[in-house]
């Protein structure tokens, strides 16, 4: 009856690049061989035209794998050419931005399935209004303009009724007395005022301060960019907030269901004599059977919750444990839509159908949690150390209670982070900083989940499906196997244990296998995280236009400019002068720490003044001695290996550092690589403490690198950079393969955000020494005597 009714029909599907849309297209192609033609409404994006989007975003999806396998590639291509066509439709423009050809295509359609929507619960208010509300209205208007009367199947959501209790019937949604046109106008014009607000001095200053504290050492342009990013984020958050508050005030869970409800009002009002059916799915999750068990794209509602549960991020969750959590497998929704499409209403009165499981096969919230406990007990996720994570036991407190708890914890973690970021310990607190970051992320995500989804676990209603069941009753036995959509046909245990949970875990790429082959503590052996960089080196073998640029202090050697200075000065002084000298250094320490945090360049400038008046040749000699005594002892063996790998691959290697020539040049000479470092002005054989050029920190580092690349014909996009601190950001950003080595807390965050490789290099165990010469050695005594 379904296949028969759709035989020879021309169907338009909007939202076909989305999960539901492409599932519908796939099912039509596979199960309704005699369908006339399927027009896919796709908008050309800034990057690619509509036809390319069809290829890349629809047809290459795993959803079509089964079809390709069953028919063979050639037959599939033929089928696509025969049945599928693209209509360029832009729901964001009045009249849908149709060309003449497009209008003709639209006119030919006998069935229109409107499944385009911005489905995230936390979209900005204006985006939701544009896509969900105005998009639907424009679609109906455009259909009316063609003068034809295709059957319009509008895909909505079961939550358009807002937060109701008890039975929700398949009727027009409740009307809080709102005018959808007015709502649309208000919501979509929100952005302007918010943008303006974001540029007010107080706010811009606050964002600027935050950007400086995060990115200060990276230089002015980086701070400016960070400020702009923060402002953008602020605007988006503000719009999301406005949308959520507005929706909540109107009795809706979120902006998504609110705009969908308004859209229903609009469609019902506008449809005129066009036959209209509305399908309201509840929470759509992975497919039970078709095109393959577990077919799912993108994370939808329950997945983040399930993963958070498995990862132990949500140690507790709010909600009513006995409430019905209305989940419906995607293939059942697809079949519902097709069945509805095959049964147009006989009159102008719109028909409404719930695609929901609650009335036929109720799943309790506690039931899902129990299934999850069972599943993750058998297949635990693993943390970054490869340890199995235990599943939490949920006690279902109220949402407010839970949110308060999370916020309090978050405040503590943020305070700890504030302290750790300001510790002058660099990479040595990296682990602690990472842990805090992870904890903060955990709390942040938990809080977010509570805000977004908590409300759905408190829904105390059941969606009536009698309208839909009346269609089901008409479906002949033979076709019920091809197009099942009765929710009582499956068993939740099977669905979760065998289909959904495995899919979610697979898609999240969470660690599920214990790692083997642990290295001894303190080992500097090659670690797995370095393999991708090594592969990149291998790929660019033999290319002399590839550069590997290394920072030195903290990246190749566990030292800083202060330690070298200490060592060289102590070396040149008799031991009885040491205490006075040390006391003087300690007095200056707080000021240096402060400067270091603000800007690496300022710190270096200030610190190098200490060299004022020292004999250049003597310092050069001491620098050479420091090579054996300090540098080589504190070197990272992995760094040395990496440099050699680059050299073996034929790449150029450059040390780019703010350290002084007297200590870096001996190392560069030994390594046989080029070096660009700081030089102090020399007057009559003595150092003046003034730099010859601005210190290569912050953006200056980027410029230096660019200059070098231009001079030597280096392709930076194919090059590598290794650095440990935010002040090297300018350099890291320029190259194709940036590697954060032992990053400090702030660089670690940046690297995490941008997906840069992070490696931890260590000194060989047992080599830590105070940065002072051995006062008992003959060599020291000789040197002092001289």
């Amino acid at each position: 009856m379904i296949a028969e009714a759709l035989k020879g029909k021309t169907i338009l599907v909007t939202g076909s690049t989305g999960f539901l849309g492409k599932s519908i297209v796939e099912k039509c192609l596979r199960s309704i061989p005699e369908v006339g033609r399927i027009n896919l409404a796709i908008r050309s994006s800034a990057r690619r035209p509509a036809s390319e989007r069809l290829e890349r975003e629809v047809l290459s999806s795993p959803a079509f794998k089964r079809l390709k396998e069953e028919r063979g590639e050639a037959a599939f291509a033929k089928l696509v050419a025969e049945k599928l066509a693209v209509v360029e439709i832009d729901l964001g423009r009045d009249g849908l931005g149709l060309s003449d050809a497009g209008r003709e295509q639209l006119r030919a359609c006998e069935i229109v399935i409107h499944s385009a929507a911005a489905v995230e619960f936390d979209n900005p208010a204006d985006l939701s209004a544009q896509t969900n509300l105005l998009g639907a209205a424009r679609m109906v208007e455009a259909l009316k303009a063609t003068g034809t009367r295709p059957h319009l199947v509008h895909v909505s959501t079961a939550y358009v009724g807002g937060m109701l209790r008890g039975l929700v019937r398949e009727e027009a949604p409740h009307d809080p007395g709102l005018n959808w046109r007015h709502e649309a106008a208000v919501l979509s014009s929100l952005r302007g005022p918010v943008e303006e607000e974001s540029r007010q001095p107080e706010i811009l200053k606050r964002l600027g301060r935050e950007a400086r504290s995060r990115m200060g050492p990276a230089g002015t342009p980086a701070v400016a960019r960070a400020t702009e990013r923060l402002r953008d984020r602020w605007v988006k958050d503000r719009l999301i907030e406005r949308g959520r508050v507005h929706a909540n005030a109107m009795g809706f869970a979120d902006i998504y269901s609110f705009t969908k409800a308004m859209a229903e009002h609009a469609v019902v009002e506008l449809h005129g004599d066009i036959p209209l059916s509305i399908v309201r799915p509840s929470i759509i999750e992975s497919a039970l059977e078709e095109p393959f068990p577990g077919w799912l794209e993108g994370f939808r509602m329950a997945e983040p919750l399930i993963l958070a549960f498995g990862r132990g991020i949500l140690r507790d969750f709010s909600g009513l444990p006995d409430s019905v959590l209305d989940i419906i497998p995607a293939d059942f929704v697809v079949n519902t839509v097709l069945a509805v499409a095959a049964n147009p209403p006989p009159d102008e009165k719109p028909r409404i159908y719930h695609a929901a499981s609650g009335s036929r096969n109720p799943l309790r919230f506690r039931g899902m949690a129990d299934e999850a406990t069972k599943y993750f007990a058998k297949h635990p996720l693993r943390d970054r150390y490869g340890q199995a994570i235990g599943t939490p036991h949920w006690t279902y407190p109220t949402r407010e209670e839970l949110a308060t708890r999370a916020r309090t914890a978050l405040r503590f973690v943020e305070a700890a982070q504030w302290v750790v970021e300001r510790l002058p310990l660099g990479a040595s607190v990296a682990d602690m900083s990472d842990d805090l970051n992870a904890e903060r992320e955990r709390l942040d995500r938990g809080l977010n989940l509570i805000q977004l989804y908590g409300v759905y676990t408190e829904v105390d209603c059941i969606f009536d499906t009698r309208n839909l069941m009346s269609i089901w009753d008409k479906v002949p036995e033979a076709e019920r196997k091809t197009f099942p959509f009765d929710a009582s046909l499956y068993d939740w245990e099977h669905y979760f244990q065998d289909v959904h949970f495995p899919t979610v875990v697979r898609m999240s790429r969470a660690e599920t296998v214990a790692r083997k082959g642990k290295q001894p503590t303190g080992s500097t052996a090659v670690k797995s995280e370095s393999s991708s960089v090594r592969a990149a080196i291998e790929r660019r073998k033999g290319r002399s236009d590839v550069l590997a640029v290394f920072d030195v202090d903290g990246t190749l050697v566990e030292t800083n400019v202060v330690e070298y200075f200490l060592w060289m000065r102590l070396r040149a002084q008799p031991i009885n002068e040491w205490p006075g000298f040390m006391a003087q250094m300690l007095r200056e320490a707080p000021r240096w720490l402060y400067l270091e945090r603000r800007s690496r360049a300022e710190f270096q400038r200030s610190f190098y003044r200490e060299y004022n008046g020292l004999d250049y040749e003597v310092m050069k000699g001491l620098g050479r001695e420091a090579l054996d005594a300090v540098t080589l002892r504190r070197i990272y063996p992995e760094g040395m290996r990496r440099i050699r790998e680059h050299k073996r691959a034929g790449h150029r290697v450059l040390l780019l550092t703010g350290a002084l020539d007297v200590v870096v040049e001996p190392l560069a000479e030994l390594l046989d690589v080029e070096v660009d470092c700081a030089h102090l002005l020399v007057k009559e054989g003595r150092l003046t403490g003034d730099l010859q050029a601005p210190p290569p920190a912050g953006e200056a580092r980027g410029t230096l690198l660019e200059e070098y690349a231009a001079r030597n014909g280096i392709v930076l996009a194919e090059s590598f950079a290794y650095a440990d601190s935010l002040s090297d950001l300018g350099m890291l950003e320029l190259v194709g393969t940036p590697v954060a080595v032992n990053p400090d807390a702030r660089l670690s965050q940046v690297a995490g955000q941008r997906g840069w490789r992070v490696e931890r290099w260590r000194m060989a165990p047992g080599n830590w020494r105070l940065p002072m010469p051995d006062p008992r050695s003959l060599e020291y005594r000789e040197a002092v005597r001289r």
């Binding site: 080589l632 060989a764 047992g766 003959l778």
Partner: protein, 525 residues
């Protein structure tokens, strides 16, 4: 008359026995019936070493007196052993200093002006100025350093000349200065039977090209043991190379031996048998045990490495290499030999804080194995004290510690090679060339104070025969992860180690404890 070495059977009255434990010591109770092998007491040193040296130079073996070989205008090169000998370093004056001063005086008398002194360190690390000064003495150092007293560099493309090939195809290289000299005087100090003879020149002044001829797994597995030259393929190869060198350049060998008085008064208890410990020795032991149990490793190391051995010279002979070396071997055997009857199922040994390659640095895990399973295991003649397939039990903390300056290539070897394979032959195939030719290690060897890139491999294959011979190797008190990484078993206590050994050697194994150092050579019948 000093007591010879002895084998004592543990009975109810036997006190617990000393085990060296890196920079520390342990007293362990051995099972009844176990044997403890003690080294001989130090032989009486020669009363007037200077006179003995003069005598040896004046009446050399199968060669003309040194004086007659010296003449004005000649090129004279003095090569001497590096700081890997003796262990621990000798209290000043070093025997080599005495010999060299005598040779230089003699040369000066003869009007020789062109004198160079070369530290024959082979592929060992360059010594620091302090270390060289300790060996040659202040007088020579201030006169010759750095232009005419310097260290061999096996990677200098200019300074190593190819001498030729032996009948067996072994390549021979030599330091250019030595090759071009009219006379080379080699000043040796022999502590163990492995040292001296032809091996001095053929490894000390050679490059990797020459050394690889015998420093390889095949040769070492055929050296049973390399502490007994007649049974050592390593020495046969060195002799062939040495003979080729003697054909090319005139070499006058001076070899010295010292007794085994390895520990100064402060650690006198290490020198003595436990039954002989006085109250003072007991107190010193307790004090040291407390200190080493509590102190951080770096502090312990500085205390231990500051120890200088009060070695006494027991013989000096000069002249033609074979004649000289025969006498040297005789003197060494007199000092070191202990007769041991038959092999046992288990052999226990305490690995001390010091081996030839970690003077002034921590003993890294590879060197622990080189010392315990390599050198100490190989102190035998005829056959090992351990029966084939028996269990070797060592005590050492075996911490994951590497000296970044001296042992950079060891770090890579440990991390990259040993996590891949521990089989010497396979390592040679896959990694030898890479480590030997690594430019960074080459630079560190030449310019800094690092062992050659290939050196960790030599340290590892030094233990190849021991690993092959033992059915199981257990390291008591070793860091578990490190010991596993090396491919052995770790035990917390000696009792646990005996329990673990039961699987290999049964419930009632025979046990021998080699109580060294002071070192000894087990003559197994």
């Amino acid at each position: 008359m000093p007591r010879p070495g002895a084998v004592i059977e543990v009975d109810r009255n036997t006190p617990p026995v000393l085990f060296h434990f890196g920079e520390g010591v342990r007293l362990e109770k051995l099972p009844l019936g176990a044997r403890i092998v003690y080294p001989p007491d130090p032989l009486e040193p020669i009363a007037h070493p200077e006179r003995a040296i003069k005598r040896a130079l004046a009446k050399p073996l199968e060669d003309d007196p040194l004086k007659s070989l010296l003449r004005r205008g000649m090129k004279l090169t003095i090569a001497f052993d590096d700081l890997s000998l003796p262990l621990p370093p000798m209290a000043a004056p070093d025997v080599r200093q005495l010999v060299m001063e005598e040779v230089i005086d003699m040369a000066a008398e003869a009007g020789v002006e062109d004198i160079h002194l070369i530290a024959a360190l082979g592929l060992h690390r360059r010594m620091t100025e302090d270390e060289i000064r300790h060996i040659v003495g202040e007088r020579i150092f201030s006169t010759f350093w750095p232009d005419r007293l310097y260290q061999h560099d096996g990677e200098d493309p200019e300074l190593n000349v190819y001498v030729g090939k032996t009948a067996e195809g072994e390549e021979v290289t030599l330091h250019r200065r030595a090759a071009e000299s009219d006379l080379v005087v080699y000043v040796n100090l022999t502590l163990v039977p492995m040292d001296g003879g032809h091996k001095s020149m053929s490894t000390g002044l050679a490059s990797y090209r020459g050394i690889r001829a015998h420093h390889n797994a095949k040769t070492l597995l055929a050296s049973r043991s390399y502490m007994n030259p007649p049974d050592s393929a390593l020495h046969h190869s060195c002799i062939r190379q040495g003979q080729l060198i003697e054909d090319t350049v005139r070499v006058f060998h001076i070899e010295t031996t010292v007794n085994n008085h390895a520990f100064p008064a402060i650690a006198n208890f290490m020198q003595k048998r436990e039954t002989d410990w006085s109250a003072r020795d007991q107190a010193m032991f307790l004090a040291m045990k407390q200190m080493t149990d509590l102190a951080p490793p770096a502090f312990k190391r500085s205390v231990f490495h500051a120890m200088r051995a009060p070695y006494g010279m027991t013989s000096v002979q000069a002249g033609q290499v074979d004649a000289v070396h025969d006498k040297t071997m005789e003197a060494v055997r007199n000092q070191l030999s202990v007769r041991v009857e038959g092999q046992t199922d288990i052999v226990t040994m305490g690995v001390p804080y010091l081996g030839p390659y970690n003077v002034n640095s921590p003993m890294n895990p590879i060197l622990v194995i080189c010392m315990g399973v390599g050198y100490m295991f190989n102190f035998y003649r005829n056959k090992p004290v351990l029966r084939k397939g028996g269990v070797l039990i060592l005590t050492h903390p075996c911490r994951c510690e590497f000296d970044a300056v001296q042992h950079p290539s060891y770090i890579d070897y440990y991390d990259e090679v040993l996590s891949d394979t521990r089989d010497p032959i396979e390592i040679e195939k896959k990694y030898e060339q890479r480590f030997a030719e690594d430019p960074w290690f080459r630079q560190l060897y030449r310019k800094s104070h690092a062992y050659h890139g290939i050196h960790p491999h030599y340290a590892w294959i030094w233990a190849a025969h021991g690993i092959d011979h033992a059915g199981d190797i257990i390291i008591v008190g070793g860091d578990r992860e490190v010991v596993h990484h090396l491919g052995f078993k770790a035990a917390t206590t000696l009792e646990d180690a005996f329990e673990m050994a039961e699987q290999t050697v049964g419930r009632y194994p025979s046990v021998t404890h080699m109580r060294m150092p002071p070192i000894m050579l087990a003559d197994v019948e």
